[in-house]
């Protein structure tokens, strides 16, 4: 059956997996994240290979302000938590609560992005530009790829919020929300590695 609502008018317990389309979407997205892992793995490898090639540019030890980065990290990790609350609300079929948690997630994501933009403009001011050195190029590429993922995620989840408020929670919208949640967690995990490999190692190495 391709019915978009369950026979008795209620959604099944896990609406994201209620249809074959939904199950395909979830599995396909897991696989896509596997590919994304290789993508970021390669970016990390390039960064690790080039991070000591600072040339005349500022040293990461002077450049990075751990306080600011820790704040950004806290914000992004919290947004992951709120996206979990959103998925829980979805499983309890509380659409309104789902939308609210998604809005909070988007706001936190935007705050993270704003901090990152501030951080980048500060670095450029300090003479750490994209073409300063191999370190700066690989730094901006790795962290920038992550930032672009956050920006895409913000647009995507915003779009889903609009759809949820117009179409409600159905077996069509549920898988979309679910995979967006997976995407958001993935971005978060990547950031944990960036925080460690780029910022913490930059401070000590």
């Amino acid at each position: 059956m391709s019915a978009h609502t369950h026979a008795d008018g209620h959604l099944p317990h896990e609406p994201e997996k209620a249809t074959l389309e939904g199950r395909n979407k979830v599995l396909g997205f897991w696989l896509f994240l596997g590919g994304e892992t290789v993508l970021f793995g390669t970016l990390f490898a390039a960064f690790l290979a080039l991070r000591h090639q600072i040339l005349d540019g500022p040293h990461p030890n002077h450049l990075f302000d751990l306080g600011l980065v820790a704040l950004a990290t806290g914000i992004l990790l919290t947004s992951s938590l709120t996206s979990v609350f959103a998925i829980q609300a979805m499983h309890q079929q509380r659409t309104k609560s789902l939308i609210n948690w998604l809005i909070i997630t988007v706001i936190l994501g935007a705050a993270f992005l704003a901090l990152e933009i501030y951080e980048f403009s500060h670095y450029i001011h300090e003479g750490h530009k994209f073409n300063t050195s191999a370190f700066s190029t690989s730094f901006y590429t790795l962290v920038g790829f992550h930032g672009a993922h956050v920006a895409f995620g913000i647009c995507w989840i915003t779009l889903l919020i609009i759809q949820l408020s117009r179409k409600g929670l159905t077996v069509v919208t549920a898988p979309k929300v679910y995979v967006a949640g997976m995407y958001w967690h993935f971005i978060d995990v990547v950031w944990v590695f960036i925080f460690t490999v780029v910022y913490l190692m930059g401070k000590v190495g």
Partner: protein
């Protein structure tokens, strides 16, 4: 049965049907046409290369043009001919072999085709603008950097492949999900036909290999367009990093190419020997093992880069290990033929011709895997001979076998056997003439990628033989094209099972299959599902469901425009240094942004507008079946 939510969906015809189709069978045909076209382009480039090398100090083409031909031949053949032709067969066959009505993501399937096509077109437009990629298909840094490649040539390479690569990646994910989630009842993993298995493993390799290329191309693009320093040693960059990134993608890529060919050979040899594939489980195991090891051997392309004896030794051993599962496959094909009642159809000739040819490519592969010996072979024609033996002698013979074998299923017409045999013999003899002598040219010291060679080095005769062989391969391709034309005017009368010995599910349904493939999803009771029913005295498969309305996805023009958008964006970013400014931004960036907006806008539309699809009703299905219930 009335449907509360049966939606009226516009069903297109003519050219709009092809632009909007999400049917895997039609997308397979589109891949075949586009891949076939690029195969002819790449083949023409190869013939021009061979004409240039026909005699010592020939000046048929200039040195610059030669570099361009060499680069575009390799790039076109790998990315725009071989991969799409494999995708053509995978699209045409895999859903049928697992008893599915379509792939998991029909829309994404169409998107994959159009991004591949527009990426390929972008790459080849370089011939018209006069800035052609000329840094080799591997585009090693620093040669491919702005210092040594000052024209837009390498930009075309970077952006064209990036766009085409998106298509390949989403195609790979699509096939993985299709094979995991869409199998008919009873079609367990260990009952899947071997072609489906190889398509599965190849898709997994695509998923984990292509993102590395994405990063490599993005990094090279940043270096070239935005003054990045990834690969520029003067700014602290590392040229060897490109080699690693490229080959971490590039080595799995050659297994991405060859594994489906292994699958095709397994199907064809088994069918035309009228025997169950010998050692099916070991074939599956060997395929998985090759896929796994394929990620562990990239540095064998870099033995002379200077990674040191320990790295070279490890990669050397890992490479030699691959000979074990490959050897298992070779013996399994031989044992499948052993004692079988073999029919040498054109398809089977290609498959049987494949076996010794691929063994020869494998043997030189093990020779090259020995790092100390590789220092002698490196960058010589020996390497050229080796990889053409595995790619042409392996993959292209496999594709020809597959095309002759599945042509009736794709088009409803059986290709002419006699023309098929002409194709085989001219192509096969031409192939060995071209490349066998190149082993010896390499051992005698002829370096690869050179424009001219001097007289009196003993290279003359063998180069001439090689060129004659290339023309013979061209003749073989022409025979195939004639065969396609001649066959296309014959009546569309292929039987469901035109070879009469079909073993797998695709032969249980009409040729070509109806839009919904299976009127009733079949119940699979064992490996070689159709053959098993035949042996049990049944005419067809036992259905797993009653006849009922079938839900189909709607056609969509969005994937086409998403491809167009990326194409425009690629052009804009590439020419941004040349096109001047408009207002506060560069004209090129504006054009690029417009292109990206087209693509993103299509994504937005796709997300906002729910695709409810449509139903093919019971009456229509019964009518297709000739009115019988």
């Amino acid at each position: 049965m009335a449907h509360a939510n049966a939606h009226a969906v516009k069903r297109y015809s003519g050219i709009m049907d092809w632009l909007t189709t999400v049917d895997h069978k039609k997308i397979g045909i589109l891949y075949l046409i586009a891949g076939g076209f690029f195969f002819l382009v790449g083949g023409l480039e190869a013939i021009l290369i061979r004409v240039q090398l026909w005699a010592p100090q020939n000046d048929f083409v200039g040195a610059d043009t030669y570099n361009e031909l060499l680069t575009m031949h390799g790039t076109t053949m790998i990315f725009l001919a071989a991969m799409p032709l494999l995708f053509a067969l995978m699209n045409a066959v895999v859903p049928l072999q697992i008893g599915a009505r379509d792939v998991a993501f029909p829309f994404v399937n169409s998107l994959g085709f159009w991004t591949f096509l527009f990426g390929g077109v972008l790459l080849n437009i370089s011939w018209l603008t006069g800035h052609v990629p000329d840094a080799g298909w591997t585009s090693y840094a620093p040669l491919a950097g702005t210092t040594y490649s000052t024209t837009h040539g390498v930009d075309y390479y970077v952006l064209g492949l990036q766009i085409a690569g998106i298509g390949t990646l989403v195609g790979g994910i699509n096939f993985l999900v299709t094979i995991i989630n869409m199998r008919a009842p009873g079609m367990t993993f260990m009952r899947m036909p071997l072609f489906t298995w190889t398509a599965f493993i190849t898709s997994a390799l695509i998923l984990f290999a292509f993102p590395a290329l994405t990063v490599g191309l993005a990094a090279l693009m940043f270096d070239r367009l935005f003054e990045g320093n990834f690969f520029d040693p003067a700014a602290g960059g590392n040229a060897v990093l490109w080699e690693h990134i490229f080959w971490i993608f590039g080595h799995p890529e050659v297994y991405i190419l060859i594994l489906p060919a292994f699958g095709i050979i397994s199907e064809v040899v088994s069918t035309f020997s009228r025997k169950r594939l010998f050692g099916y489980s070991s074939m599956v195991f060997a395929t998985i093992l090759i896929g796994f090891l394929g990620f562990m051997v990239w540095a064998h392309h870099m033995f002379t880069t200077g990674l040191g004896p320990v790295a070279n030794a490890l990669f050397s051993i890992a490479t030699m290990l691959i000979a074990v599962p490959t050897g298992i496959k070779i013996f399994n094909w031989l044992f499948t033929m052993w004692g079988g009642s073999i029919k040498f159809t054109a398809a089977n000739l290609f498959a049987v011709g494949f076996i010794p040819t691929f063994v020869m490519g494998g043997v030189t592969g093990v020779m090259l895997a020995a790092a100390p010996a590789d220092f002698q072979y490196h960058d010589s024609y020996f390497v050229v001979a080796h990889f053409h033996y595995v790619i042409v002698g392996g993959l292209v013979l496999g594709i020809f076998a597959g095309l002759h074998y599945w042509w009736p299923k794709m088009f409803g017409r059986v290709l002419s056997e006699s023309l098929g045999k002409w194709t085989f013999w001219t192509f096969f003899i031409g192939f060995h003439l071209t490349f066998f002598v190149q082993h010896f040219l390499g051992l005698m010291g002829m370096p690869r990628r050179i424009w001219q060679y001097l007289d009196g080095l003993g290279f003359n005769e063998m180069n001439m033989i090689s060129t004659v062989g290339a023309f013979l391969m061209g003749l073989g391709t022409i025979f195939f094209l004639i065969n396609v034309v001649v066959t296309s005017v014959k009546p569309k009368n292929a039987a469901n099972d035109p070879w009469e010995d079909g073993r797998t599910l695709e032969w249980t349904i009409p040729s070509p299959p109806p839009e919904y493939n299976f009127a009733q999803t079949p119940l699979v009771r064992g490996y070689d599902a159709y053959w098993k029913e035949k042996m049990d005295g049944h005419k067809g498969m036992t259905p797993a469901e009653p006849i009922g309305p079938i839900h189909m996805p709607s056609p969509s023009i969005l994937p086409f425009f998403m491809g167009v958008g990326l194409f425009i964006a690629g052009f804009g970013f590439m020419y941004s240094p040349d096109w001047g400014d408009v207002g506060f931004m560069k004209t090129g960036h504006l054009v690029g942004a417009i292109g990206l907006l087209i693509t993103l806008g299509c994504m937005l539309l796709r997300s906002m507008i729910d695709d409810h699809g449509f139903h093919i009703e019971e009456e229509e299905i019964l009518k297709d079946q000739g009115g019988k219930a």
